[in-house]
Symmetry: C2
Subunit: 319 residues, 2 copies
């Protein structure tokens, strides 16, 4: 499997959103095992039926535990919808689907938080129960919530993302609560100890954006880079389209170029290398002109082998 001949980093930090971040995380876990720490976006967390749902964390969690539902792109393989149907019959809104297996995660998490646990600790307990090797850290313990402005006013993120299927045009994005947030000690320690820091091919606006917006986070990255730790980002835009989700449309409606180059521009000053798909090879010189080393490769992850291959290429790109 190992194509890269360079020595492999064993302490890797990935900044990640949902599916794209989870796929690359699985590849990185195959390489780095327990040396991988994934720092996940929590700004798309939401309260459903009084339960705290953490979509990005859970996508990474289930993917690293190899129990994810690949067809749906969220939730658990083989889940059932018995409780959801009963909730709807009791008058609860049904547009945000929670399976019976999935509900257990949200119930246990919500209870443990209400008992006073920190989000970082509570999520760590869930990860240990599922027996995954890597560590998944929330970007902060404080609640942060993305809201998007549309022609109909401000919307909660999941209202826009799930209920309205990302149809409205977004003219502004905010991360409510972020000014009160701080990187946790665990996030600080993971970044300080990292040999490589990877920014996943997740949505740069609403997945990576909130992580980088946590006050103090980019400073931690800058300190790590100053000590020689490379930061590599992977483009989630390929051929001008997001592989999944509304990243291309968000970039455009917020005034950015909806291409891999537009993504690279957003990370300029923060990263050392940028992984572009082969279909975007022509953008490499423009990336280089930003002071970022371009790395062109096949970046579409279709199976376990391609996830691990991309992970190794990303780590090699850092070296």
């Amino acid at each position: 499997m190992a194509e890269a001949s360079a020595p492999t980093a064993t302490r890797v930090v990935e900044l990640a959103g949902g599916v794209g971040g989870a796929k690359l995380a699985e590849g990185l876990q195959a390489v780095a095992g327990a040396g991988l720490t994934v720092i996940v976006n929590t700004a798309d967390d939401t309260e459903r039926h009084g339960l705290l749902v953490c979509p990005d964390h859970d996508t990474v969690l289930y993917t690293l535990a190899k129990v994810e539902n690949e067809e749906l792109g969220w939730g658990l393989a083989g889940d059932s919808w018995t409780a959801m149907g009963a909730l709807e019959r009791l008058g609860e809104p049904g547009w945000f689907r929670l399976g019976d297996l999935d509900l257990a995660t949200h119930i246990a998490r919500t209870e443990r938080l209400r008992r006073g646990g920190r989000l970082t600790e509570v999520l760590g307990g869930l990860q240990r129960s599922l027996g995954i090797a890597a560590t998944i850290l929330p970007m902060a313990d404080e609640p942060i919530r993305t809201r998007v402005r549309t022609a109909d006013g401000w919307l909660e993120f999941q209202d826009y993302f799930v209920r309205l299927r990302q149809a409205p045009n977004v003219t502004e994005v905010e991360f409510a609560g972020i000014s009160h947030a701080r990187p946790t000690a665990e996030v600080g320690a993971a970044i300080a100890a990292a040999e490589v820091i990877v920014i996943a091919p997740s949505n740069p606006i609403v997945s990576i954006g909130p992580i980088l917006a946590v006050p103090g986070l980019t400073e931690l990255l800058a300190i790590a880079r100053g000590r020689g730790t490379p930061v590599v980002a992977v483009s989630g835009i390929i051929g001008g389209k997001a592989l999944k989700g509304p990243a291309d449309r968000l970039l455009a409606s917020l005034g950015h170029e909806p291409t891999a180059l537009g993504v690279a521009r957003g990370y300029a000053g923060l990263i050392d290398a940028f992984v572009l798909d082969t279909v975007d090879a022509a953008l490499a010189p423009a990336v280089e002109a930003l002071g970022i080393r371009p790395v062109v490769t096949d970046s579409i992850m279709t199976d376990d082998a391609s996830r691990e291959r991309l992970a190794r290429e990303v780590l090699a790109a850092a070296g």
Copy 2:
């Protein structure tokens, strides 16, 4: 079906615990329809995995909606255990079993209470969603919790009742929080409007006991009786044994006679008539000596027809 020739009361209040109360409630609902108000014990309510579970209310709710699980004696017919298994894998205790359908009730209830709803209102919403004709009222909106004293000290009620299967000897019972509770306006109005008040064949110590212990509740019953509203109790002890649960053992260990007569003695001064099973006919004179009119009948409810028959006999006994 109607055997009783007396005119049937249309405004009936039943004080009830779990299964026995629910069965009689179903019979009373068949007779009185929307005229039935069941006032249920809430002192065996419990928080499981951060969710408020109301065992007696839910047994009555599911029974009146005809979705109860008759084999188990709790929960819903045809329920599944997917979320419960997942909760156990996440390290949550599994001895209090909650089915997937049942969980929806607890999730919706807990959320609506956290949003500021009164217990009475929140439970009313669940009842309307299930389309039942009768009204089920909690005995109070305030949280009240039964605790029992055993050789190992004080135990939460469900710890004793479910986890320890009622094995420990109980030497004392308390209803924590009851001094802060008051009958709700809905309970007061239902008792004031009742043509008949029925005390169900539920556990007199831990099901009916807490209802009668709500400060002001027995005074409401006394006022209703003073206006001519009869109160009829049904024995849940038949031939010296509880049909279900530990009522006989609790009566004995707390110094009462574990017979229908012992139950009648506990209600002396509160009730006008007492329904005994035919096997306990010999106790009728002793009941009469307490100033209570004994009514001897077959009181075991095996099916819908026998529930309705007993309900009609109980209402006729009041008349």
